[in-house]
Protein backbone atom coordinates (compact mmCIF):
# COMPACT_ATOMS: atom_id res chain seq x y z
CA UNK A 1 0.00 0.00 0.00
CA UNK A 2 1.05 3.56 -0.58
CA UNK A 3 3.14 4.93 2.29
CA UNK A 4 1.53 8.37 2.27
CA UNK A 5 -1.86 6.73 2.48
CA UNK A 6 -0.83 4.76 5.57
CA UNK A 7 0.62 7.88 7.18
CA UNK A 8 -2.63 9.70 6.46
CA UNK A 9 -4.55 7.03 8.36
CA UNK A 10 -2.05 7.26 11.20
CA UNK A 11 -2.48 11.01 11.55
CA UNK A 12 -6.26 10.90 11.53
CA UNK A 13 -6.49 8.10 14.06
CA UNK A 14 -4.05 9.77 16.45
CA UNK A 15 -6.22 12.90 16.48
CA UNK A 16 -9.37 10.85 16.85
CA UNK A 17 -7.77 8.95 19.72
CA UNK A 18 -6.94 12.17 21.57
CA UNK A 19 -10.50 13.45 21.17
CA UNK A 20 -12.09 10.21 22.33
CA UNK A 21 -9.85 9.50 25.31
CA UNK A 22 -10.01 13.06 26.64
CA UNK A 23 -13.70 12.47 27.35
CA UNK A 24 -13.13 9.41 29.54
CA UNK A 25 -13.69 10.34 33.22
CA UNK A 26 -10.93 9.67 35.79
CA UNK A 27 -13.15 7.05 37.45
CA UNK A 28 -12.73 4.82 34.42
CA UNK A 29 -9.02 5.25 33.83
CA UNK A 30 -8.07 1.75 34.96
CA UNK A 31 -10.65 -0.01 32.74
CA UNK A 32 -9.70 2.37 29.93
CA UNK A 33 -6.12 1.24 30.25
CA UNK A 34 -6.87 -2.46 30.32
CA UNK A 35 -9.39 -2.02 27.50
CA UNK A 36 -6.82 -0.14 25.43
CA UNK A 37 -4.45 -2.95 26.22
CA UNK A 38 -6.87 -5.45 24.76
CA UNK A 39 -7.13 -3.32 21.61
CA UNK A 40 -3.35 -3.28 21.27
CA UNK A 41 -3.71 -7.04 20.93
CA UNK A 42 -4.85 -6.17 17.37
CA UNK A 43 -1.32 -7.12 16.45
CA UNK A 44 -2.77 -10.65 16.42
CA UNK A 45 -4.14 -9.81 12.98
CA UNK A 46 -0.63 -9.20 11.66
CA UNK A 47 0.63 -12.29 13.44
CA UNK A 48 -2.07 -14.52 11.93
CA UNK A 49 -1.01 -13.77 8.38
CA UNK A 50 2.62 -14.52 9.20
CA UNK A 51 1.97 -17.67 11.23
CA UNK A 52 -0.10 -19.23 8.45
CA UNK A 53 1.97 -18.04 5.52
CA UNK A 54 3.40 -21.50 4.88
CA UNK A 55 6.76 -20.07 3.87
CA UNK A 56 9.95 -19.76 5.93
CA UNK A 57 9.83 -22.00 8.96
CA UNK A 58 11.22 -19.33 11.26
CA UNK A 59 8.53 -16.80 10.34
CA UNK A 60 5.85 -19.36 11.10
CA UNK A 61 7.15 -20.09 14.56
CA UNK A 62 7.68 -16.44 15.35
CA UNK A 63 4.20 -15.73 14.02
CA UNK A 64 2.71 -18.47 16.19
CA UNK A 65 4.51 -17.03 19.22
CA UNK A 66 3.14 -13.60 18.38
CA UNK A 67 -0.38 -15.03 17.99
CA UNK A 68 -0.12 -16.62 21.43
CA UNK A 69 1.16 -13.45 23.12
CA UNK A 70 -1.37 -11.22 21.41
CA UNK A 71 -4.17 -13.63 22.33
CA UNK A 72 -3.23 -13.26 25.99
CA UNK A 73 -3.69 -9.55 25.49
CA UNK A 74 -6.97 -9.79 23.64
CA UNK A 75 -8.73 -12.39 25.78
CA UNK A 76 -7.23 -11.31 29.11
CA UNK A 77 -7.67 -7.62 28.38
CA UNK A 78 -11.32 -7.74 27.38
CA UNK A 79 -12.29 -10.15 30.15
CA UNK A 80 -10.63 -8.26 32.96
CA UNK A 81 -12.05 -4.96 31.68
CA UNK A 82 -15.52 -6.46 31.60
CA UNK A 83 -15.05 -7.80 35.11
CA UNK A 84 -14.00 -4.38 36.37
CA UNK A 85 -16.75 -2.46 34.61
CA UNK A 86 -19.26 -4.85 36.15
CA UNK A 87 -18.34 -3.40 39.55
CA UNK A 88 -19.32 0.15 38.65
CA UNK A 89 -22.83 0.80 39.88
CA UNK A 90 -24.93 3.86 40.38
CA UNK A 91 -26.42 4.66 43.73
CA UNK A 92 -29.80 2.96 44.00
CA UNK A 93 -32.90 5.02 44.50
Amino acid sequence: MDVSYLLFILMLSVFLGFELINKVPATLHTPLMSGANAISGITVVGAIALAGSGNADMAQWLGAGAVALASINVVGGYMVTDRMLGFFKKKEG
Partner: protein, 452 residues
Protein backbone atom coordinates in the same frame (compact mmCIF):
# COMPACT_ATOMS: atom_id res chain seq x y z
CA UNK B 1 -17.12 -9.40 -4.61
CA UNK B 2 -13.64 -10.75 -4.18
CA UNK B 3 -12.32 -12.00 -0.89
CA UNK B 4 -9.64 -9.33 -0.57
CA UNK B 5 -12.29 -6.62 -0.54
CA UNK B 6 -14.38 -8.48 2.04
CA UNK B 7 -11.34 -8.74 4.30
CA UNK B 8 -10.59 -5.04 3.95
CA UNK B 9 -14.23 -4.17 4.69
CA UNK B 10 -14.02 -6.39 7.75
CA UNK B 11 -11.08 -4.29 8.96
CA UNK B 12 -13.04 -1.09 8.35
CA UNK B 13 -15.94 -2.42 10.43
CA UNK B 14 -13.52 -3.51 13.17
CA UNK B 15 -11.89 -0.07 13.32
CA UNK B 16 -15.32 1.55 13.51
CA UNK B 17 -16.33 -0.71 16.39
CA UNK B 18 -13.11 0.10 18.29
CA UNK B 19 -13.81 3.81 17.93
CA UNK B 20 -17.43 3.42 18.97
CA UNK B 21 -16.41 1.24 21.92
CA UNK B 22 -13.90 3.81 23.14
CA UNK B 23 -16.52 6.53 22.81
CA UNK B 24 -18.88 4.57 25.03
CA UNK B 25 -16.15 4.32 27.66
CA UNK B 26 -16.84 8.03 28.22
CA UNK B 27 -19.53 7.28 30.79
CA UNK B 28 -19.77 4.57 33.47
CA UNK B 29 -23.33 3.79 32.31
CA UNK B 30 -22.32 2.71 28.84
CA UNK B 31 -18.73 1.64 29.48
CA UNK B 32 -19.39 -2.05 29.85
CA UNK B 33 -21.31 -2.22 26.58
CA UNK B 34 -18.56 -0.16 24.96
CA UNK B 35 -16.00 -2.73 25.99
CA UNK B 36 -18.23 -5.44 24.54
CA UNK B 37 -18.51 -3.58 21.24
CA UNK B 38 -14.77 -3.19 21.11
CA UNK B 39 -14.42 -6.95 21.71
CA UNK B 40 -16.81 -7.65 18.82
CA UNK B 41 -14.62 -5.40 16.67
CA UNK B 42 -11.65 -7.55 17.60
CA UNK B 43 -13.56 -10.70 16.69
CA UNK B 44 -14.47 -9.25 13.29
CA UNK B 45 -10.84 -8.30 12.66
CA UNK B 46 -9.60 -11.78 13.60
CA UNK B 47 -12.17 -13.52 11.40
CA UNK B 48 -11.26 -11.23 8.51
CA UNK B 49 -7.58 -12.05 9.02
CA UNK B 50 -8.33 -15.78 9.02
CA UNK B 51 -10.16 -15.49 5.67
CA UNK B 52 -6.91 -14.47 4.02
CA UNK B 53 -6.18 -16.93 1.22
CA UNK B 54 -2.48 -16.58 1.79
CA UNK B 55 -2.99 -18.68 4.89
CA UNK B 56 -2.23 -22.29 4.12
CA UNK B 57 -1.59 -23.64 7.58
CA UNK B 58 -4.00 -23.07 10.42
CA UNK B 59 -2.29 -25.31 13.01
CA UNK B 60 0.20 -22.70 14.14
CA UNK B 61 -2.48 -20.04 14.40
CA UNK B 62 -4.94 -22.17 16.32
CA UNK B 63 -2.24 -23.49 18.63
CA UNK B 64 -1.13 -19.97 19.46
CA UNK B 65 -4.67 -18.74 20.01
CA UNK B 66 -5.67 -21.56 22.32
CA UNK B 67 -2.55 -21.28 24.47
CA UNK B 68 -2.67 -17.48 24.66
CA UNK B 69 -6.43 -17.32 25.13
CA UNK B 70 -6.36 -19.77 28.02
CA UNK B 71 -3.56 -17.94 29.80
CA UNK B 72 -5.35 -14.63 29.33
CA UNK B 73 -8.71 -15.96 30.52
CA UNK B 74 -7.28 -17.52 33.67
CA UNK B 75 -5.29 -14.39 34.48
CA UNK B 76 -8.33 -12.14 33.95
CA UNK B 77 -10.57 -14.25 36.15
CA UNK B 78 -8.24 -14.79 39.05
CA UNK B 79 -6.45 -11.46 39.42
CA UNK B 80 -7.28 -9.51 42.58
CA UNK B 81 -8.28 -5.89 42.01
CA UNK B 82 -5.46 -4.74 44.28
CA UNK B 83 -3.02 -6.37 41.83
CA UNK B 84 -4.46 -4.68 38.73
CA UNK B 85 -1.42 -2.43 38.22
CA UNK B 86 0.97 -5.37 37.95
CA UNK B 87 -1.46 -7.23 35.72
CA UNK B 88 -1.80 -4.30 33.32
CA UNK B 89 1.98 -3.88 33.33
CA UNK B 90 2.38 -7.51 32.38
CA UNK B 91 -0.25 -7.25 29.62
CA UNK B 92 1.51 -4.18 28.23
CA UNK B 93 4.72 -6.16 28.09
CA UNK B 94 3.06 -9.11 26.39
CA UNK B 95 1.51 -6.81 23.77
CA UNK B 96 4.87 -5.18 23.12
CA UNK B 97 6.57 -8.54 22.76
CA UNK B 98 3.87 -9.71 20.31
CA UNK B 99 4.37 -6.65 18.10
CA UNK B 100 8.14 -7.08 18.27
CA UNK B 101 7.78 -10.72 17.15
CA UNK B 102 5.49 -9.67 14.30
CA UNK B 103 8.24 -7.28 13.25
CA UNK B 104 10.86 -10.03 13.23
CA UNK B 105 8.58 -12.47 11.42
CA UNK B 106 7.72 -9.81 8.83
CA UNK B 107 11.36 -9.82 7.74
CA UNK B 108 10.61 -12.90 5.63
CA UNK B 109 8.23 -10.91 3.43
CA UNK B 110 9.92 -7.51 3.64
CA UNK B 111 11.20 -5.49 0.74
CA UNK B 112 12.11 -1.83 0.42
CA UNK B 113 13.84 0.46 2.93
CA UNK B 114 10.59 1.86 4.33
CA UNK B 115 9.42 -1.60 5.35
CA UNK B 116 12.78 -2.33 6.97
CA UNK B 117 12.59 0.93 8.91
CA UNK B 118 9.12 0.10 10.21
CA UNK B 119 10.25 -3.42 11.10
CA UNK B 120 13.13 -2.01 13.11
CA UNK B 121 10.72 0.41 14.80
CA UNK B 122 8.31 -2.34 15.80
CA UNK B 123 11.18 -4.44 17.16
CA UNK B 124 12.62 -1.47 19.02
CA UNK B 125 9.38 -0.22 20.59
CA UNK B 126 8.17 -3.76 21.20
CA UNK B 127 11.41 -4.75 22.90
CA UNK B 128 11.53 -1.68 25.12
CA UNK B 129 7.89 -2.19 26.08
CA UNK B 130 8.50 -5.84 26.88
CA UNK B 131 11.44 -5.56 29.26
CA UNK B 132 10.33 -2.17 30.61
CA UNK B 133 6.99 -3.69 31.54
CA UNK B 134 8.63 -6.69 33.16
CA UNK B 135 10.67 -4.37 35.37
CA UNK B 136 7.54 -2.34 36.14
CA UNK B 137 5.75 -5.58 36.99
CA UNK B 138 8.60 -6.57 39.30
CA UNK B 139 8.48 -3.23 41.07
CA UNK B 140 4.70 -3.17 41.42
CA UNK B 141 4.44 -6.72 42.70
CA UNK B 142 7.52 -6.05 44.85
CA UNK B 143 9.31 -9.13 43.59
CA UNK B 144 12.16 -6.68 43.09
CA UNK B 145 12.65 -3.58 45.23
CA UNK B 146 10.22 -0.82 44.30
CA UNK B 147 12.73 1.96 44.94
CA UNK B 148 14.57 3.92 42.27
CA UNK B 149 17.83 2.32 41.17
CA UNK B 150 20.34 4.95 40.19
CA UNK B 151 24.07 4.85 39.65
CA UNK B 152 26.75 7.25 38.51
CA UNK B 153 27.02 7.68 34.77
CA UNK B 154 23.51 6.33 34.19
CA UNK B 155 22.72 8.98 31.60
CA UNK B 156 26.01 8.30 29.87
CA UNK B 157 25.32 4.55 29.66
CA UNK B 158 21.79 5.18 28.37
CA UNK B 159 23.19 7.60 25.81
CA UNK B 160 25.59 4.92 24.60
CA UNK B 161 22.75 2.43 24.26
CA UNK B 162 20.70 4.89 22.20
CA UNK B 163 23.65 5.57 19.92
CA UNK B 164 24.23 1.82 19.61
CA UNK B 165 20.58 1.23 18.66
CA UNK B 166 20.60 4.02 16.09
CA UNK B 167 23.89 2.92 14.54
CA UNK B 168 22.98 -0.74 14.24
CA UNK B 169 19.48 0.14 12.98
CA UNK B 170 20.89 2.32 10.21
CA UNK B 171 23.43 -0.33 9.25
CA UNK B 172 20.74 -2.99 9.12
CA UNK B 173 18.41 -0.91 6.94
CA UNK B 174 21.27 -0.20 4.54
CA UNK B 175 22.21 -3.87 4.36
CA UNK B 176 19.31 -6.15 5.43
CA UNK B 177 21.38 -9.29 4.90
CA UNK B 178 23.51 -8.30 7.87
CA UNK B 179 21.49 -10.12 10.53
CA UNK B 180 24.10 -9.47 13.23
CA UNK B 181 22.97 -5.86 13.22
CA UNK B 182 19.38 -7.01 13.65
CA UNK B 183 20.30 -9.08 16.70
CA UNK B 184 22.15 -6.09 18.09
CA UNK B 185 19.02 -3.96 17.77
CA UNK B 186 16.95 -6.65 19.49
CA UNK B 187 19.44 -7.05 22.33
CA UNK B 188 19.95 -3.34 22.89
CA UNK B 189 16.19 -2.63 22.81
CA UNK B 190 15.62 -5.22 25.49
CA UNK B 191 18.44 -3.76 27.57
CA UNK B 192 17.17 -0.22 27.05
CA UNK B 193 13.70 -1.18 28.35
CA UNK B 194 15.30 -2.27 31.63
CA UNK B 195 17.51 0.78 31.85
CA UNK B 196 14.70 3.32 31.43
CA UNK B 197 12.44 1.83 34.09
CA UNK B 198 14.88 0.94 36.89
CA UNK B 199 15.58 4.57 37.91
CA UNK B 200 11.86 5.22 38.45
CA UNK B 201 10.47 4.77 41.96
CA UNK B 202 7.24 3.09 43.06
CA UNK B 203 5.16 6.25 43.48
CA UNK B 204 5.89 7.32 39.91
CA UNK B 205 4.57 4.03 38.56
CA UNK B 206 1.26 5.52 37.35
CA UNK B 207 3.27 7.53 34.83
CA UNK B 208 5.36 4.57 33.76
CA UNK B 209 2.40 2.24 33.25
CA UNK B 210 0.61 4.88 31.19
CA UNK B 211 3.68 5.42 29.07
CA UNK B 212 4.26 1.71 28.51
CA UNK B 213 0.57 1.39 27.62
CA UNK B 214 1.14 3.99 24.96
CA UNK B 215 4.26 2.18 23.71
CA UNK B 216 2.39 -1.11 23.35
CA UNK B 217 -0.02 0.71 21.04
CA UNK B 218 2.75 2.40 19.08
CA UNK B 219 4.49 -0.96 18.67
CA UNK B 220 1.30 -2.39 17.16
CA UNK B 221 1.11 0.66 14.94
CA UNK B 222 4.69 0.16 13.71
CA UNK B 223 3.93 -3.52 13.11
CA UNK B 224 0.95 -2.36 11.05
CA UNK B 225 3.29 -0.42 8.78
CA UNK B 226 5.60 -3.42 8.57
CA UNK B 227 2.87 -5.80 7.40
CA UNK B 228 0.89 -3.15 5.49
CA UNK B 229 -2.25 -3.40 7.56
CA UNK B 230 -4.66 -0.51 8.17
CA UNK B 231 -6.48 -1.86 11.16
CA UNK B 232 -3.23 -2.31 13.09
CA UNK B 233 -2.37 1.30 12.42
CA UNK B 234 -5.76 2.63 13.49
CA UNK B 235 -6.07 0.48 16.63
CA UNK B 236 -2.41 0.95 17.55
CA UNK B 237 -2.57 4.70 17.33
CA UNK B 238 -5.81 4.85 19.34
CA UNK B 239 -4.03 2.97 22.13
CA UNK B 240 -0.94 5.12 21.71
CA UNK B 241 -3.00 8.28 22.06
CA UNK B 242 -4.81 6.91 25.09
CA UNK B 243 -1.55 6.12 26.86
CA UNK B 244 -0.10 9.52 26.07
CA UNK B 245 -3.15 11.33 27.46
CA UNK B 246 -3.05 9.31 30.68
CA UNK B 247 0.67 10.04 30.96
CA UNK B 248 -0.03 13.74 30.63
CA UNK B 249 -2.78 13.65 33.24
CA UNK B 250 -0.51 11.81 35.69
CA UNK B 251 2.37 14.22 35.17
CA UNK B 252 0.10 17.22 35.63
CA UNK B 253 -1.29 15.72 38.82
CA UNK B 254 2.24 15.52 40.18
CA UNK B 255 3.23 18.92 38.81
CA UNK B 256 6.25 17.37 37.14
CA UNK B 257 7.33 17.17 33.56
CA UNK B 258 7.62 13.81 31.89
CA UNK B 259 11.38 14.16 31.56
CA UNK B 260 11.59 14.94 35.28
CA UNK B 261 9.75 11.71 36.11
CA UNK B 262 11.82 9.65 33.70
CA UNK B 263 15.27 11.00 34.39
CA UNK B 264 15.41 12.18 37.98
CA UNK B 265 14.13 10.09 40.84
CA UNK B 266 12.55 11.86 43.80
CA UNK B 267 15.49 10.63 45.85
CA UNK B 268 17.67 13.51 44.73
CA UNK B 269 15.44 16.18 46.25
CA UNK B 270 14.03 14.44 49.31
CA UNK B 271 16.74 15.77 51.62
CA UNK B 272 15.00 19.13 52.05
CA UNK B 273 14.17 19.67 55.71
CA UNK B 274 11.08 21.70 56.45
CA UNK B 275 10.42 23.18 59.86
CA UNK B 276 6.99 22.15 61.02
CA UNK B 277 5.22 23.80 63.90
CA UNK B 278 2.62 22.26 66.17
CA UNK B 279 2.33 18.83 67.63
CA UNK B 280 0.94 15.46 66.76
CA UNK B 281 -2.42 14.76 68.39
CA UNK B 282 -3.36 11.09 68.46
CA UNK B 283 -7.00 10.05 68.90
CA UNK B 284 -8.49 6.76 70.07
CA UNK B 285 -11.02 4.77 68.07
CA UNK B 286 -13.65 5.52 70.70
CA UNK B 287 -13.17 9.28 70.54
CA UNK B 288 -13.09 9.17 66.75
CA UNK B 289 -16.45 7.41 66.87
CA UNK B 290 -18.02 10.21 68.92
CA UNK B 291 -16.84 12.79 66.40
CA UNK B 292 -18.11 10.74 63.46
CA UNK B 293 -21.45 10.08 65.12
CA UNK B 294 -22.10 13.82 65.29
CA UNK B 295 -20.91 14.46 61.74
CA UNK B 296 -23.33 15.18 58.88
CA UNK B 297 -20.82 15.37 56.05
CA UNK B 298 -17.84 13.07 55.76
CA UNK B 299 -15.21 12.89 53.02
CA UNK B 300 -12.98 9.85 52.67
CA UNK B 301 -9.62 10.29 50.94
CA UNK B 302 -8.06 6.94 50.05
CA UNK B 303 -4.49 6.31 49.00
CA UNK B 304 -2.26 3.40 48.15
CA UNK B 305 -2.18 2.46 51.85
CA UNK B 306 -5.86 1.51 51.63
CA UNK B 307 -5.04 -1.03 48.93
CA UNK B 308 -2.11 -2.38 50.92
CA UNK B 309 -4.25 -2.80 54.04
CA UNK B 310 -7.11 -4.27 51.91
CA UNK B 311 -9.36 -1.87 53.79
CA UNK B 312 -11.82 -1.00 50.97
CA UNK B 313 -14.57 -3.39 52.09
CA UNK B 314 -14.55 -2.30 55.70
CA UNK B 315 -14.49 1.33 54.49
CA UNK B 316 -17.71 0.61 52.62
CA UNK B 317 -19.25 -0.84 55.82
CA UNK B 318 -18.37 2.31 57.70
CA UNK B 319 -19.87 4.37 54.89
CA UNK B 320 -23.17 2.48 55.15
CA UNK B 321 -23.32 2.99 58.92
CA UNK B 322 -22.57 6.69 58.52
CA UNK B 323 -25.28 7.04 55.88
CA UNK B 324 -27.76 5.18 58.05
CA UNK B 325 -26.89 7.76 60.69
CA UNK B 326 -28.01 10.53 58.33
CA UNK B 327 -24.57 11.55 57.20
CA UNK B 328 -23.50 12.38 53.64
CA UNK B 329 -20.41 10.46 52.56
CA UNK B 330 -18.22 11.21 49.55
CA UNK B 331 -14.84 10.03 48.40
CA UNK B 332 -12.15 12.38 47.15
CA UNK B 333 -9.80 10.68 44.74
CA UNK B 334 -6.53 12.20 43.64
CA UNK B 335 -5.46 11.29 40.10
CA UNK B 336 -2.21 9.69 41.30
CA UNK B 337 -3.62 7.94 44.36
CA UNK B 338 -2.62 4.28 44.04
CA UNK B 339 -0.23 2.73 41.58
CA UNK B 340 -2.11 3.29 38.33
CA UNK B 341 -4.63 5.79 36.99
CA UNK B 342 -8.07 5.13 38.47
CA UNK B 343 -6.83 2.36 40.78
CA UNK B 344 -8.76 3.60 43.84
CA UNK B 345 -11.99 3.88 41.86
CA UNK B 346 -11.85 0.24 40.82
CA UNK B 347 -11.10 -0.95 44.35
CA UNK B 348 -14.01 1.03 45.78
CA UNK B 349 -16.34 0.02 42.97
CA UNK B 350 -15.49 -3.61 43.72
CA UNK B 351 -16.44 -2.96 47.33
CA UNK B 352 -19.86 -1.78 46.03
CA UNK B 353 -19.38 1.94 46.50
CA UNK B 354 -21.59 3.69 43.88
CA UNK B 355 -19.48 5.56 41.37
CA UNK B 356 -21.39 8.81 41.74
CA UNK B 357 -19.90 9.10 45.23
CA UNK B 358 -16.35 8.88 43.88
CA UNK B 359 -15.42 12.52 43.30
CA UNK B 360 -12.42 13.84 41.44
CA UNK B 361 -10.06 16.22 43.17
CA UNK B 362 -11.48 19.31 41.46
CA UNK B 363 -15.01 18.38 42.53
CA UNK B 364 -14.28 17.64 46.17
CA UNK B 365 -11.97 20.56 46.92
CA UNK B 366 -14.63 23.30 46.70
CA UNK B 367 -16.85 21.25 49.02
CA UNK B 368 -14.15 20.67 51.60
CA UNK B 369 -15.15 23.64 53.78
CA UNK B 370 -18.56 22.15 54.45
CA UNK B 371 -17.09 18.76 55.39
CA UNK B 372 -17.23 17.90 59.10
CA UNK B 373 -14.72 15.08 59.04
CA UNK B 374 -12.20 14.23 56.33
CA UNK B 375 -10.82 10.72 56.79
CA UNK B 376 -7.46 10.17 55.13
CA UNK B 377 -6.76 6.47 54.64
CA UNK B 378 -3.25 5.51 53.64
CA UNK B 379 -2.70 8.66 51.59
CA UNK B 380 0.09 11.07 52.33
CA UNK B 381 1.66 13.17 49.60
CA UNK B 382 -1.66 13.75 47.80
CA UNK B 383 -3.07 15.53 50.88
CA UNK B 384 0.13 17.34 51.86
CA UNK B 385 -0.60 21.05 52.38
CA UNK B 386 3.12 21.75 51.89
CA UNK B 387 2.36 21.54 48.18
CA UNK B 388 0.39 24.78 48.58
CA UNK B 389 2.13 26.47 51.49
CA UNK B 390 5.82 25.63 51.58
CA UNK B 391 7.65 27.01 48.57
CA UNK B 392 10.83 25.09 49.34
CA UNK B 393 9.02 21.75 49.38
CA UNK B 394 9.90 19.39 46.53
CA UNK B 395 6.22 18.87 45.84
CA UNK B 396 5.38 22.60 45.90
CA UNK B 397 2.85 23.34 43.17
CA UNK B 398 1.45 19.82 42.99
CA UNK B 399 -2.37 19.94 43.14
CA UNK B 400 -3.54 18.27 46.35
CA UNK B 401 -6.82 17.52 48.08
CA UNK B 402 -7.28 20.29 50.64
CA UNK B 403 -8.37 18.15 53.58
CA UNK B 404 -7.13 20.77 56.05
CA UNK B 405 -10.14 22.93 55.05
CA UNK B 406 -12.47 20.39 56.66
CA UNK B 407 -13.54 21.00 60.26
CA UNK B 408 -11.72 17.90 61.49
CA UNK B 409 -9.24 15.64 59.76
CA UNK B 410 -8.59 12.05 60.78
CA UNK B 411 -5.40 10.60 59.40
CA UNK B 412 -5.17 6.82 59.51
CA UNK B 413 -1.57 5.83 59.50
CA UNK B 414 0.62 2.99 60.61
CA UNK B 415 3.38 5.14 62.08
CA UNK B 416 4.94 8.54 61.68
CA UNK B 417 7.16 7.48 58.78
CA UNK B 418 6.93 9.94 55.91
CA UNK B 419 5.30 9.11 52.59
CA UNK B 420 6.94 7.66 49.54
CA UNK B 421 8.44 10.96 48.51
CA UNK B 422 10.10 11.20 51.94
CA UNK B 423 8.61 14.63 52.57
CA UNK B 424 7.38 15.88 55.96
CA UNK B 425 3.63 16.40 55.99
CA UNK B 426 2.58 19.54 57.92
CA UNK B 427 -1.01 18.24 57.79
CA UNK B 428 -0.24 15.94 60.72
CA UNK B 429 0.62 18.92 62.88
CA UNK B 430 -2.42 21.08 62.10
CA UNK B 431 -4.76 22.06 64.95
CA UNK B 432 -7.72 20.26 63.42
CA UNK B 433 -5.87 17.03 62.61
CA UNK B 434 -6.14 13.90 64.72
CA UNK B 435 -3.95 10.87 64.10
CA UNK B 436 -5.52 7.44 64.33
CA UNK B 437 -2.49 5.18 64.48
CA UNK B 438 -2.57 1.51 63.51
CA UNK B 439 -3.50 -0.72 60.61
CA UNK B 440 -6.18 1.04 58.54
CA UNK B 441 -8.34 -2.06 58.28
CA UNK B 442 -8.32 -2.61 62.04
CA UNK B 443 -8.89 1.04 62.88
CA UNK B 444 -11.92 1.27 60.62
CA UNK B 445 -13.12 -2.12 61.79
CA UNK B 446 -12.96 -0.66 65.32
CA UNK B 447 -15.11 2.29 64.23
CA UNK B 448 -17.62 -0.06 62.62
CA UNK B 449 -17.90 -2.04 65.86
CA UNK B 450 -18.47 1.18 67.83
CA UNK B 451 -21.35 2.05 65.52
CA UNK B 452 -23.10 -1.30 65.65
Amino acid sequence: MDLGLIIQLGYVVAAGLFIFGLKMLGSPDTARRGNGISAIGMLVAIIAALLDQGIVQYEYILGGMVVGGLIGAVAARTVAMTSMPEMVALFNGVGGAASGLVGVAALSIADGSFTYITIILSILIGGVTFTGSLVAYGKLSETIGSGAVTFGGQKFVNGLIVIGILASAVMFVMDPTNTNMLYTVVGLSLLFGIMVVIPIGGADMPVVISLLNSYSGLAACAAGFAVDNNVLIVAGSLVGASGIILTQIMCKAMNRSLSNVLFSGFASVSTTVTEVEGEIKPISVEDAYYVLEAATNVAIIPGYGMAVAQAQHVVKELMELLEANGCEVNYGIHPVAGRMPGHMNVLLAEADVPYDQLLEMDDINPRMESVDVAIVIGANDVVNPAAREVESSPIYGMPVINVADARTVFVLKRSMASGFAGIENPLFYKDNTRMLFGDAKESIGGLVREFS
